[in-house]
Amino acid sequence: MSWDWQYSGEILPDLLRGLRYTVIATLAGYVIAIVLGLVWTLLRRTPSRVFNQVIRWVTEFIRSTPLIPQLYFVFFVLPAWGITIGSLTAGIITLGIHYSTYTAEVYRAGIADVPKGQWEACTALNLPRSRVWLDVILPQAIRRVIPTLGNYLIAMFKDSPMLLAINVAELLFSAYKVGSQSLQFLEPITMVGLLFVVVSVISSILVRRLERRYATT
């Protein structure tokens, strides 16, 4: 069996429709991940040590369990508790929460990377806590973590095919569907694979550019 160009052209619109869901899920999930990640990090710095440890283990738990059972959990368990959500919403929420535990670790390292003198200067100037965080520490920390956060956007894009486990009509799902209609899987899945490689290579070049632009040393 050889490559069928005409068939490839015919299935392209289906794949692009799937790509739309992949992009929506990735971007919406990413917004959740970068906001919630910062929340996790700040929650780990409260005066209560017990609370900090609880937050630490919660994030550790989410980070070290795979995405697919988490998707099942959100998609099947929430309805059992009376909350009904669509599969795309469930996918976005799960992807976002899963990756927020990664970005939390990135923010933590970024904050630890801010020179100690900055903290001391804040104390010397008697700045209120809100200004210490909003005007001194976070602007410097976030600048440092931007390239790393960019990497996680790529990572989320690459993990988005797993949403097909709960029947989100994303890229790989649509490729599988058109493939199973015609029993020709070679073209759709190869095209999806190439698309992933192209997007990843381009975006990793962009991330490298970000790294140069925000280099602190």
Binding site: P69, Y72, D113, Y152, K158, V199, R208
Partner: protein, 238 residues
């Protein structure tokens, strides 16, 4: 809940599949990572190109896409694998590409004077790698390798989508047969967490041993420079 726990033999079988996939995939990934990682530090441009092509192709692809490709697409052009083999191949090739970047970055991070000393002592390239560069690079590789191993373990959950009965698949089956949705999916998450923590302990132990071997201490919490080294979407390290 008791129905879910009564089927413990299924859980054990599923866990065994997950662990076996992690070990086999990890072994393949380690071999590929060392091979292609060292290729990335070669003096010959064409060997380095080999490393780039491998890394960009298999790191740039989603593991699930690779698995579907091995499982659905390649049999159509006459390449047939068992499901287990396809899964190990997809996981190993993907994680191996991340690993290759870690290996390349770590070897490049060994001080240049070490390399120059081996040249001065007239070491062969093999001796240089085996006796001087790799032992030092190894300590740098271990923490990111540990991350990758846990990512690989999490990655094995995708095999449930092509019909292998791993932990994830077992949870789905038990949910279907007992109807206890909350219990089934809670148990599977806890089991994965336990496996991950065991792997974590093993990695910590290996790190401590290597640190002692080289007489150095690494920081207990990863810094920004190393945190992304083994991360799923990490860019080029080192």
């Amino acid at each position: 809940m008791s129905d879910v726990l009564d089927s413990y033999s299924q859980w054990l079988d599923g866990a065994w599949v997950t662990v076996r996939l992690t070990l086999l995939g990890g072994a393949l990934a380690l071999v590929l990572a060392l091979l292609f990682g060292m290729a990335g530090t070669s003096r010959h441009a064409w060997v380095r190109v080999l490393n780039r092509v491998y890394v960009e192709f298999f790191r740039g692809n989603a593991t699930l896409v690779l698995l579907f490709w091995f499982f659905y697409a390649l049999p159509l052009i006459g390449l047939r694998f068992t499901t287990m083999f396809a899964a190990v191949l997809a996981l190993g090739l993907n994680v191996g590409a991340y690993g290759a970047e870690v290996v390349r970055g770590s070897i490049n991070a060994v001080p240049k004077a070490q390399y120059e000393a081996t040249v001065a002592l007239n070491f062969t390239p093999f001796q240089r790698m085996r006796r001087v560069l790799l032992p030092q690079a190894f300590a740098l590789m271990l923490p990111p390798f540990g991350n990758l191993l846990i990512e690989l373990m999490k990655g094995t959950a995708i095999v449930s989508l092509v019909g292998l009965v791993d932990l994830t698949r077992v949870s789905k089956n038990i949910q279907g047969s007992t109807g206890e949705t909350v219990a089934a999916f809670s148990v599977v998450l806890v089991l994965y967490f336990v496996v991950a923590q065991l792997l974590q302990l093993f990695v910590r132990y290996a790190e401590r041993r290597v640190d002692r071997m080289l007489g150095r201490r690494l920081p207990s919490e990863p810094s920004l420079g190393t945190i992304a080294a083994g991360a799923p979407g990490a860019g080029v390290a080192g």
